[in-house]
Symmetry: C2
Subunit: 318 residues, 2 copies
Amino acid sequence: MPDNVSRAFAPATVSNLTCGFDLLGFAIEKPGDTVGARLTESPGVTIAKITGDGGLLPRDPAKNTAGVAARALLETLGLDREVGVALELQKGLPGASGLGSSAASAVAAIVATAALIEAEATDQDKLRCAIEAERIACGTAHADNVAPSLFGGLVLVRGKGGSRVDRLAVPERLFCAVIRPHVEIRTEAARAVLPENVSRSEAVTQAGNLAALVVGLLRDDLELVASALVDVIAEPRRVDAVPGFDAARRAGLATGALGVGLSGSGPSIFAFTEGRGAAGKTGEAMATAVLDAADVISDVYSSPVGSPGARLVADPVR
Amino acid sequence: MPDNVSRAFAPATVSNLTCGFDLLGFAIEKPGDTVGARLTESPGVTIAKITGDGGLLPRDPAKNTAGVAARALLETLGLDREVGVALELQKGLPGASGLGSSAASAVAAIVATAALIEAEATDQDKLRCAIEAERIACGTAHADNVAPSLFGGLVLVRGKGGSRVDRLAVPERLFCAVIRPHVEIRTEAARAVLPENVSRSEAVTQAGNLAALVVGLLRDDLELVASALVDVIAEPRRVDAVPGFDAARRAGLATGALGVGLSGSGPSIFAFTEGRGAAGKTGEAMATAVLDAADVISDVYSSPVGSPGARLVADPVR
């Protein structure tokens, strides 16, 4: 791409975190998506190129989260009939992995486009446009991936369509291992197994664990964090669809992880650990367990819990 | 009572706090119950006298929470066939008020009895015995009143029968107004209106609000606290049984309260305020509103959120 390009990287994100189902998400260092944006003569958003997706993603900007997000931003700013933007999307993370792939594309497109047109878009504008893109991609307007990918850190999202975002402090010694087994789980399918209703007792247990997790994070009390990393609502109904999950959990806990759960709706699996070294060991152990139990290879990542969010970059981040 | 008496005061408690349904509770300064305990020659627990209850409470120690609690303590210590204890219960708060009346009696009895026999009972022993007494009184083994009455402060209770208790820091400027309308609501009846199941969406909303409340308390962010004081599970199903609740809520919020909700299952109503002066004004406004709307008189209290728990006293606390 030529020099008059704004380029942004947006990180992958781990959402849900067991008891934080539909409420918590955090950014990890890598992988992530990079989007380059350049001006075109004809108004509107086009997608010039996509790499790293194996040819799977739609080039139609109305069906691609990056295109939807950039168009939403132009509309928000009243520029959609004046300004033309071509996007080049370099996927660093695959779709249907439980790592917020569609969110990362949307957020990177928004940040790149805002910089390109030097727009005075507020954080709330950017968040709203990214949520709109998620609605197109997932069928539901959830902010638990886009908010951490945009702002970084670990965030609590509440309200209609994730309209309220609060960033939480996280202990510096808290790291995560993330493995991505090479199978796909579509978010729509993973949501379809969730019941419309849960028992009152499940609701109280889940809320109590979430409160304890948040207290543990804010107080730097990792024993309390470990006691709270249990999801009684979504995970029990989803794990049957994730090959090797039980083996990964056992292996992760055996290495001393504080807790293990699905990232988003899977198949990616995360574990909280104390320190980066422990995260590396836990990740390798979980990947080996999934290979042994289900004959599925995994990518392995480790990261602080709550890394920086989307930012402008000179070159694509690999 | 003669001098060889151990006497303990246990405070009233506000449980649920809207989104903390079945999970949060805090002690208030006053009112509370005082229990005196003295040794008797024949083993076992007897109830020698009850004052302040209008003759309503059972004198049978197997049916009175103070008696059940003291007996459970003796059994825990293996002393129930050796030691005899007579209890004198001075009720400072009425039953069926939503202020943890049965819990305060149980906790005061335990603390007084433990001091009388100079027992090496752990906090966990005392908590377990108080929960057992609650099970007799309410039909369910809940710790959201006994734990704050015993330990003081604002506590998060989780686990089977409230087996895990974590005390949370509370901003010093946070106070509460509590009014007790002169009507009774039996806890069993208030629990009967609760549905066995709630929608997944309600469960997520409730958990998100609870997480935000806890973050707000730990960070001293009263705006966040105010945004979180909403119960979508229990309160909407209970308020119809509480005369004047809507009027009290409107009046409380109109005085600048951060939020208003039922204390326990009602009829008592609490409001969070910034500062003690504001708590006094909010309490008076809520009591006036209940009188105007429902022709019911209320007692009015104000207190820091999270006062000291049960302790030995020389004289009954009034």
